[in-house]
C-alpha cells in the first residue's frame, strides 16, 4: 500500500465515522431526508463565504455552512408551520432553492477555482492527498484529514457531553422539555453538527453520497442492535468498513471511491436486512414457516382429539381424508403427519391415525390456551 493510498483510506474512514454519528440521531428522529436537504443547501453558505474570504480552506466556510444548515431547518419548519405545505414538501421546496442559488453563483463567478459543480455533487477523494498541510515548513499530511478529524472529534465530543440529554430529547421530546432540557436547542445544535459534518465530507464524497454515509450505516446498525450506545458504535464501525472496502473496490474497478463507499454502505444494509438476527427477512421468514408448521401440527392434534372415540372417528381420522377436513393438500397433510409421528404425538395403525398420550396432552393444552 502506497502512502497516498493509506492517506485516502484514512480520510475515508474519518469521513464515514463522522457522518455515522450524527446520522444515528437523524435516523432515530425520522429526519433522514433532512441530511439530504442540509448537504445540498450548505453549498449556498460555502459559496457566499468563499466570496467573502476568497479562501477555500478557511474555517469560516465551515461556520457559514453550519449557519446555512440551521437556516435550512428553520425555513423548513417555518413553511411547515404555516399549515399550507406538509413537511416533505417543505423540505423539497427549501433545499433546492438554496442549492440552486449556490449552483448559479458557482457557475457564474467561481469558474476558475476548484469549486465546480462536479466536485460539489460527487467529491473527489483521490485528489485529497495532493492538498497538504504544512506546519513550519514540515509536511504533516493531507489537509482534508485534519479538517475531517477535527469534525469527527467535535461530533464525538458533542455526543459524549450531551449523551443523556440527546437520548431523552430524541426518545421523548416533551419530557425533555418539561424537565428543562431545551429540546429545541439540542435539535438545532444537532442540525448545526450535521451541517458542519456535511461541509467537511462534501469535499471528499460530494453532497449526494454524504447522505448515504449518514443514513445507511445507522439504519443498518438499527437492525443489528437495540441500545443507543451500541447503535452509535456499530454505525461508526460499519461506516469505517464501508470506507475501506469501498476504497479497494474502487481500486480494483478503477471507479469512483465515493461511489464505491456508498455502494458498500448500501450492500451492508442489504446484508443486514436479509440476515439480521431476529429482525432480518430470513429470520422473519424462518419464524413464519416454523409457526405455520407448528400451527398445522396443533390443528391436526386438536382435530384427532375432537373426534376420538366418536363413531365418525374411523372416517375422519385417516390420512387420505385429512385434506378435505382440514383443507390441506395431500402432500402437506402427509408431511405434517410424518412430523407429528417423529415427535411421538401421533401413530398410525392400519391407515387410521391415533393420538399418543403425549399427543392427547398437547391437544388439550392447545385448546385451553
Amino acid at each position: 500500500m502506497t502512502a497516498p493510498q493509506f492517506e485516502i483510506q484514512l480520510i475515508a474512514v474519518v469521513v464515514a465515522v463522522s457522518c455515522a454519528l450524527p446520522g444515528t440521531f437523524l435516523v432515530l428522529r425520522r429526519m433522514a431526508m433532512m441530511s439530504d436537504a442540509i448537504s445540498h443547501s450548505i453549498l449556498f453558505g460555502i459559496v457566499v463565504a468563499f466570496f467573502v474570504v476568497r479562501d477555500l480552506s478557511s474555517p469560516f466556510l465551515v461556520v457559514a455552512a453550519a449557519l446555512t444548515g440551521v437556516l435550512t431547518v428553520s425555513l423548513v419548519e417555518l413553511l411547515n408551520r404555516t399549515g399550507l405545505v406538509r413537511e416533505d414538501a417543505a423540505i423539497g421546496l427549501t433545499f433546492p432553492a438554496l442549492f440552486s442559488v449556490g449552483v448559479i453563483l458557482v457557475s457564474r463567478y467561481a469558474g476558475s477555482v476548484h469549486l465546480d459543480t462536479d466536485s460539489v455533487l460527487l467529491g473527489e477523494l483521490a485528489f485529497a492527498p495532493f492538498n497538504r498541510l504544512a506546519v513550519m515548513g514540515y509536511d504533516i499530511g493531507p489537509r482534508a484529514f485534519y479538517l475531517m478529524a477535527g469534525i469527527m472529534l467535535l461530533n464525538i465530543l458533542f455526543i459524549a457531553v450531551f449523551y443523556k440529554e440527546l437520548k431523552l430529547a430524541t426518545f421523548d421530546a416533551s419530557l425533555a422539555g418539561v424537565l428543562g432540557f431545551l429540546p429545541g436547542f439540542l435539535h438545532y445544535a444537532l442540525m448545526a453538527l450535521v451541517s458542519v459534518t456535511a461541509v467537511g465530507a462534501f469535499d471528499a464524497v460530494g453532497s449526494i453520497l454524504v447522505v448515504a454515509l449518514m443514513i445507511a450505516p445507522p439504519t443498518t446498525a438499527y437492525l443489528l442492535v437495540d441500545r443507543l450506545s451500541l447503535m452509535l458504535a456499530v454505525s461508526a464501525l460499519l461506516g469505517a468498513v464501508s470506507a475501506i472496502s469501498g476504497y479497494w473496490i474502487a481500486h480494483v474497478l478503477d471507479a469512483s471511491i465515493a461511489g464505491s463507499m456508498a455502494s458498500m454502505a448500501g450492500l451492508l444494509f442489504g446484508a443486514a436486512y436479509l440476515a439480521a438476527p431476529g429482525r432480518g427477512l430470513i429470520a422473519i421468514t424462518v419464524r413464519r414457516v416454523r409457526q405455520r408448521w407448528k400451527f398445522a401440527q396443533t390443528m391436526l392434534l386438536v382435530h384427532l382429539y375432537n373426534h376420538e372415540g366418536l363413531p365418525a372417528e374411523v372416517r375422519e381420522n385417516r390420512i387420505p381424508t385429512l385434506h378435505e377436513h382440514l383443507k390441506w393438500d395431500h402432500r402437506f397433510a402427509e408431511r405434517v403427519v410424518a412430523a407429528a409421528g417423529r415427535q411421538g404425538l401421533v401413530e398410525s395403525r392400519d391407515r387410521r391415525l391415533l393420538l399418543t398420550d403425549r399427543g392427547r396432552r398437547a391437544a388439550r393444552e392447545a385448546m385451553v390456551g
Binding site: L28, E165, S174, L179, G180, D226, L230
Partner: protein, 262 residues
C-alpha cells in the same frame, strides 16, 4: 385535602388562553387544583385537555393568562412537577431498555451533564417493582404490551419524585388488570400527599377513581369536588347532550355497566 388551608394551591390557572394559529383550543380557563387531591380532566375530543397540561408544564406557550405552581411560575418549580405524556407520543422502537427509560425520570434531578449511576438504578428498580414489571427491566421497549408501556411510564413518573403529577390518558389502551393497578397506584400517591391530575376519558369511572374533576370544552365548564360539580347540567354543558352517561345513570353513581360516554 386538609393540606389546602393556608397554602397556595398546587396549580392555579388564571385566564389561560392557548391558540394554534387563529384557532383557540383553550379560552380563558380559570382552574385551581388544591394540593393532595386526585383530579380528572374530562371533556370531548378537541376540548383542549392535553393543551391544558402542556400549558401548565410550559410545553406550549399561552397567548394570555398565567399558571402558578404552589404560587410560583413553572420555571422555578420544575422539580415539583412530574409529567406522563400520552403513551403513543414516543417511538417505542427506540433502541433502549425498560430500566433505561425509567431512569430518564431521574434526569431532571441530575441536571445537565451528570450521568445516572447506582442511585438512579436502585430508584428505577424500586419503581419498576412498584408498578409490577420489575422482571421486564432488561427488556427492549419494543417488546412491551400497551399495559406494560403505561406501567413503564408510571414508573418513570414515580422516580421523578415530584409533588404534582400531570398524566395524559394513563388508562388509554390498557386492560382491566392494569387499569386497577394504576388506580391503586394513583390513590397511593394521593395518600402520600401528592397531587395528581389525570386526563381521563371514561365518565363512568370518574366518581369511583377521582375526588375532584374539571369539565373542559375549550372553556372550563366546571371544576371542583366530584360530588358537587359532576352532575347532569355540567356534563350537558361540556358534551352538548351527546353523552350517554346522562340518559342511563344518575350522576355520582358508580356503575360498572353502560357505555363509555367520553
Amino acid at each position: 385535602m386538609t393540606s389546602v388551608s393556608g397554602m397556595a394551591p398546587a396549580i392555579k390557572v388564571e385566564d389561560l388562553t392557548v391558540a394554534y394559529g387563529e384557532r383557540p383550543v383553550l379560552w380563558d380557563v380559570d382552574m385551581e387544583v388544591p394540593a393532595g387531591i386526585l383530579m380528572a380532566i374530562v371533556g370531548p375530543n378537541g376540548a383542549g385537555k392535553t393543551s391544558l397540561i402542556k400549558a401548565v408544564t410550559g410545553l406550549v406557550r399561552p397567548v394570555a393568562g398565567y399558571v402558578a405552581i404552589f404560587g410560583k411560575p413553572y420555571r422555578e418549580q420544575r422539580p415539583l412537577v412530574g409529567y406522563v405524556p400520552q403513551r403513543n407520543s414516543v417511538d417505542w422502537d427506540f433502541p433502549t431498555t425498560v430500566l433505561d427509560v425509567v431512569m430518564m425520570g431521574r434526569y431532571g434531578g441530575l441536571g445537565w451533564f451528570r450521568r445516572p449511576g447506582a442511585t438512579e438504578r436502585a430508584l428505577a428498580l424500586e419503581a419498576l417493582e412498584k408498578v409490577g414489571i420489575a422482571e421486564l427491566k432488561g427488556r427492549q421497549i419494543s417488546q412491551l404490551s400497551g399495559g406494560q408501556q403505561q406501567r413503564l411510564f408510571l414508573a418513570r413518573a414515580i422516580v421523578q419524585d415530584a409533588r404534582i403529577y400531570l398524566m395524559d390518558e394513563p388508562f388509554q389502551g390498557v386492560d382491566a388488570t392494569t387499569e386497577r393497578a394504576i388506580v391503586t397506584l394513583l390513590k397511593e400517591m394521593r395518600a402520600r400527599g401528592k397531587t395528581v391530575v389525570v386526563v381521563h376519558h371514561d365518565l363512568q369511572t370518574v366518581p369511583e377513581y377521582f375526588d375532584w374533576v374539571t369539565l373542559l370544552n375549550v372553556r372550563c365548564v366546571a371544576s371542583g369536588p366530584v360530588d358537587r360539580v359532576f352532575n347532569d347540567r355540567n356534563l350537558r354543558l361540556t358534551y352538548g347532550g351527546r353523552v350517554s352517561y346522562l340518559t342511563h345513570h344518575t350522576p355520582g353513581d358508580t356503575l360498572a355497566d353502560g357505555e363509555d360516554g367520553g
